[in-house]
Amino acid sequence: MNVAIIKYNAGNIMSVDYALQRLGVNPLVTDDHGFIRSADRVIFPGVGEASTTMQYLKNRKLDLLLPELKQPVLGICLGLQLMCRLSEEGNTKCIGIFEEEVRKFDPPANGAERWKVPHMGWNTIYDLKTPLLGEDLSNRYVYFIHSYYAAVGPDTVALCDYTVPFSAALQRDNFYATQFHPEKSGKPGYQILKNFLEL
């Protein structure tokens, strides 16, 4: 199976590569349009800042290529956010595959409960409505690390609670995305990547 991991300007994409290798797949990290178009699966990973990353994608016309893809595509973390309509981070107009908007976690200033930002660590996901996650993973812990989140909307297929309930996963047609990092989420994460390869 040919898997393309979209090449990025920043962030740890090696961990996605290694996670796929643990599943017996040898992905290619690339920004080559031809290879991405013909791949069986495309992964759009990333950590980093939205506006600079969006600019990087635009310079390589990857923002135009992505919405045209027909094979299953998986966005991870910043990948999910850049597949949304727009992001508060740097007031960035994003790719717009998903309708949702990306907002910053805004902890109440004097609330009784203290919310740290970034939302960092293991949290549970629920209301799963996508073959990517199946049903067995309901209320299981997965690993998050992010300061911005996609609001709940029509493409939301899994929820997680932090300062507010937010989209833990989004799906529209062949486009899937998780806010958490399946490649860092232990056994549930392994299952999710396996599900993606078997879609």
Partner: protein, 251 residues
């Protein structure tokens, strides 16, 4: 609900995990990759690998080791120890590290924190602070706890947050190696003045200490080394203990 994180810490010297008490009397305890994988299997939420090798050759070995860790490990891990320049950080990132922790380098060159946050994102930047309390004042130390600095713990932690650090790893040198519990008072104060997560380190001796650090100490994560390495407490034991006390943990 976001779980409190349990983080075994592995000090690495010349490719082997080692453990000392109060930064001295160091002895070897095993292979970092095997130990890391075993901790992940047991349910550790994250791992920290600190390179305490001094030599240049040892550095290169450590980058190779980070790659081996990344290939095998399916949970996040932080690497640190002796990092002085952006090029070191890039090499560790390319090898597959999820986060890099700065200690001495951040104090010597605070702009490095800003540069790291800008280049790689705040989530990648952990600032580790070793501090000792004397006469009510917490002083930050560098060079593995050997040299006191002008920096005061709380103001320095705030400065790190302002510069873009994503997390603070605070080790109380007064508590480290004592097994008498974490520096809960200072930790709670840190958590109150910061908006980024705080990892507590130094002093873990029993399971009750972790319950304390997550309640009165308000810590987001608890880090320990020897009690895990020498099997005095196992990660699953600790997590069940915490869950029974209504502290959210991943089980």
């Amino acid at each position: 609900m976001l779980a409190k994180r349990i983080i075994p810490c592995l000090d690495v010297r010349n490719g082997q995990t080692v453990k000392g008490v109060n930064f001295v009397n160091i002895r070897e305890v095993g292979d970092p990759v095997e130990m890391g994988a075993a901790y992940a299997e047991q349910g550790a939420d994250e791992l920290v690998f600190l390179d305490i090798t001094a030599s240049h050759e040892g550095r290169k070995t450590f980058v190779q080791l980070v790659k081996r860790i990344a290939v095998h490990l399916n949970i996040p891990f932080t690497v640190g120890g002796g990092i002085g320049a952006l090029t070191d950080i890039e090499a560790l990132l390319a090898a597959g590290a999820d986060k890099v922790s700065l200690n001495t380098a951040a104090i010597r060159t605070p702009e490095l924190v800003d540069q790291m946050a800008l280049n790689f994102g705040s989530q990648f930047v952990v600032v580790a602070i070793d501090a000792r309390e004397e006469g009510g004042k917490w002083t930050a130390y560098i060079n593995g706890g050997r040299i006191p600095t002008e920096k005061e713990l709380f103001s320095w932690a705030r400065e790190c947050e302002d510069r873009g650090a994503g997390e603070i790893l605070f080790t109380s040198m007064n508590h480290d190696g004592t097994k008498n519990g974490f520096a809960c008072e200072a930790l709670a104060k840190l958590s109150d003045i910061l908006t980024i997560p705080v990892i507590a380190s130094g002093g873990a001796g029993n399971m009750e200490h972790f319950a304390e650090v997550f309640t009165t100490g308000k810590a987001d994560a608890g880090l320990a080394a020897s009690i895990f390495h020498f099997n005095e407490i196992t990660v699953p034991q600790l997590k069940h203990y915490l869950r029974d006390r209504n502290i959210p943990v991943r089980l």
